[in-house]
């Protein structure tokens, strides 16, 4: 009943049985979050360090809360990776921290692969809280949990991911996880937001938002970062909204309801209309609560290994 993985670097290659167990366990922890005393002593005596080399509010708070709910001792270390440029190696920074005996590391870093590199340097359980444009496995797990909560399954569901796929760790982790769980994934984005040889990920791709919505049981809407238009990847946010936005008009034309997800923070009226984000088919706030439960489950299952 233990997981086959020792660390959570990403969802690529994580077997279905592991994902199933994480989701099941998370549903059990969801119940704890709805109790009057939302705290269990499970990780008493376990030290978790939250190592954030990049600003983060949501993920950091979600992990912090999950750790507190499980009664773990926590240490927070935040550093702009720019301080590492001043000659201190990532290895030194981390080994220094580990001289203090940590059991679990939750790490975010702006560069893909940095979290995995950490695993080579220290003897602790490592959980990736986002490594650049690579993976953000707990986000994808909470997305999958939210879909499963809504539909009762993941298999054979059609999931569309819309937005800046190329620069999104959320998209990549979702693709890996959803494919493993037997869902069908379609990506919808302007070509400048799609990575090279995107077909190699085993997904369908379209530039037509209506086709993508027609396909979808649920749509995961990614945040459009304002600086992207500065780099010339899209002409304007207006054009993006007109061409790819999840607007009320578009959804009203469909004959079926679609479940709406967003990893946050939202740019209302850019990638998604406010009425949709707050509407009855949106499960965006469930995602937030499920995020805590998923992180509890991952912390629990990995530190028990």
């Amino acid at each position: 009943m233990s997981l086959s993985i020792d660390n959570l670097y990403g969802l690529e290659g994580v077997p279905k049985a592991d994902i199933d167990q994480i989701l099941d366990t998370a549903f059990s922890f969801r119940e704890v979050l709805e109790r009057p005393v939302k705290k269990v002593p499970t990780l008493k005596g376990t030290t978790v360090v939250n190592l954030f080399f990049e600003p983060s509010t949501r993920t950091k708070n979600s992990f912090a809360l999950a750790e507190k709910r499980l009664s773990a001792d926590t240490v927070n270390f935040s550093a702009a990776s720019s301080s590492l440029k001043k000659g201190e190696s990532l290895k030194d920074t981390i080994q220094n921290l580990f001289a203090m005996k940590m059991d679990v590391v939750v790490m975010r870093h702006p560069t893909p692969g940095s979290v995995k590199m950490l695993g080579d340097f220290v003897d602790a359980v490592i959980i990736n809280a986002g490594d650049g444009t690579h993976e953000h496995p707990t986000q994808a797990l909470l997305d999958m949990m939210s879909i499963k909560e809504k539909f009762g399954k993941l298999e054979d569901l059609n999931i569309t991911i819309v937005g800046d796929i190329k620069h999104s760790r959320v998209a990549l982790s979702n693709i890996y996880g959803l494919k493993t769980m037997g869902a069908n994934v379609m990506l919808c984005a302007p070509p400048t937001f799609l990575p090279a040889e995107v077909d190699s990920l085993g997904v369908e791709v379209t530039y037509d938002i209506n086709e993508a919505l027609e396909f979808a049981d649920a749509v995961n809407v990614l945040r459009i970062q304002n600086e992207r238009q500065g780099k010339g990847l899209i002409p304007s946010l207006r054009e993006y909204r007109q061409t790819f936005g999840i607007t009320r008009d578009r959804l009203e034309k469909l004959k079926k309801p679609i479940t709406i997800m967003h990893p946050g923070p939202m740019n209302r009226q850019v990638e998604i209309d406010s009425e949709i984000a707050d509407g009855e088919n949106a499960i965006i706030l469930d995602q937030v609560l499920n995020g805590v439960a998923i992180r509890m489950a991952v912390l629990f299952l990995l530190s028990g290994n």
Binding site: S89, G113, P195
Partner: protein, 430 residues
């Protein structure tokens, strides 16, 4: 590594001479006196006085020439010095190496060329400086080609940085005609390279690592080939990595453009698949490419499109590599593992003739920098690399003589190994 200076005559007995000048591989003994070949022939009778060096079953070739070595002196002596780099070269069977000018300060002046030459004067390995194309490698002002050549520079390159301005590249190529030396341009269009860390393709997509597209290299190579064609000057293209580049060079050669090209042992051994490990040891510039590209490079070596193999030996200290991929320095050391990798890939896997492989390590690179190597004739200087083409061994930390050990090949099984180097009256056991 053990070095013996032999007084009097000594005989290399039982080896096979790989003579790239005569296209012959023959079993012959070589008698050496005072650092020069006294006699060469079949079964030289041994006199009681003569020291015999048994090289039975081994091949003897001219000492290898590396067109592309980074010695970090002056500036980063913690990563490599001229002396430590020269030892690494010997361990790899290289008796002559060209050092790149991206030091601190860069090799842009006569004084800095002279500095290298002075430092290397008493070393066994011959170190030939490549001076920068532009002052301090900034791409703004040409260096004094004629004066630098007089002092000892053998070629010009801003390696590490491309010459971004086409006009500057035109000036460099045109002006180089007065010294008849090649211009080496690190071909990567910086704009298209963008923030790319690895080859752009399915691996960059599934790892989320920013991609550096093949066309960033190819577009600059195309530009340089056209300028070389237009000016009639000599262009040498270092570390070619893509299929498209090989095709461009092949076509240019057919048209008579004065172009030569090199590839590194690592680009014909590894592909971007290696980067799925996120290991910074695989971060090189230009990046490891796809399997298709790798095959095209080998094809280019076979059909002569690619003239030489050069190591791009790039030592870095630990702290430059044990950091995140974006901050990690580009490059790997390559001198010590070069022959093993090249023979494993080209001789054993690809069945390329040994003679062709050896040419790309000896007379071909020597030609590019206008040098003639000592040959296997009476009176010539003794400068040989003695190697086993088949010996199976595992490359390990002890195989490294560089001050740095940034290589992904530690633990790799290789076929083919350097056994001895003879320079003058010195015999170095590797």
């Amino acid at each position: 590594m053990q070095k013996k200076n032999i007084q009097g005559e000594f005989l290399l007995k039982g080896g096979e001479i790989v003579d790239p000048y005569n296209d012959s591989i023959e079993k012959k003994d070589i008698l050496i006196e005072k650092g020069r070949i006294k006699k060469i022939g079949k079964d030289i009778k041994e006199d009681g006085e003569i020291k015999i060096i048994d090289v039975k079953g081994l091949k003897i070739s001219p000492g290898f020439v590396d067109l592309h070595t980074h010695l970090r002196e002056p500036g980063q002596e913690d990563a490599e010095t001229i002396a430590s780099g020269a030892r690494a070269a010997l361990a790899g069977g290289f008796t002559r190496i060209c050092c790149m000018p991206n030091t601190t300060p860069s090799i842009s002046t006569q004084e800095s060329v002279q500095f290298i030459i002075n430092k290397a004067r008493n070393l066994d390995v011959k170190v030939m400086p490549i001076a920068s194309i532009t002052k301090d490698r900034k791409g703004e002002q040409l260096t004094e080609f004629a004066e630098l050549a007089k002092t000892g520079a053998v070629a010009f390159s801003d390696d590490g940085n491309p010459v971004e301005s086409a006009q500057m590249m035109r000036n460099a190529l045109e002006y180089s005609k007065i010294v008849d030396m090649p211009i080496l341009n690190h071909s990567e269009d910086q704009d298209l390279k963008n923030d790319g860390l690895i080859n752009e393709g399915s691996v960059s997509t599934s790892t989320g690592l920013p991609g550096n597209p093949a066309m960033a290299e190819e577009i600059m190579i195309y530009r340089d080939l056209r300028i070389a064609e237009f000016t009639g000057a000599r262009l040498h293209i270092p570390h070619v990595t893509t299929k498209g580049s090989v095709e461009l060079i092949r076509k240019a050669k057919e048209k008579g453009v004065k172009v030569t090209a090199e590839v590194t042992p690592h680009h014909i051994t590894l592909t971007d698949e290696y980067m799925r490990s996120f290991n910074t040891l695989g971060k090189v510039a230009p990046p490891l490419r796809s399997e298709d590209d790798k095959e095209a490079l080998i094809e280019g070596l076979k059909d002569g499109t690619i003239d030489a193999i050069a190591t791009d030996h790039a030592p870095h200290t630990y702290n430059k590599k044990e950091t995140s991929l974006d901050l990690a320095a580009n490059g790997m050391i390559g001198l010590e593992s070069a022959l093993g990798l090249v023979l494993t890939q080209l001789l054993h896997k690809e069945e390329m003739p040994l003679m062709e492989v050896i040419k790309k390590l000896t007379i071909k690179p020597a030609d590019i920098i206008n040098k003639k190597l000592p040959c296997f004739q009476k009176g010539e200087k003794a400068e040989f690399t003695i190697f086993s083409p088949d010996e199976w061994w595992v490359f390990n930390k002890k195989s490294i003589y560089s001050r740095s050990s940034n290589t992904p090949f530690i633990g790799r099984e290789l076929n083919g190994r350097v056994k001895k180097v003879v320079i003058g009256s010195k015999v170095i056991e590797i």
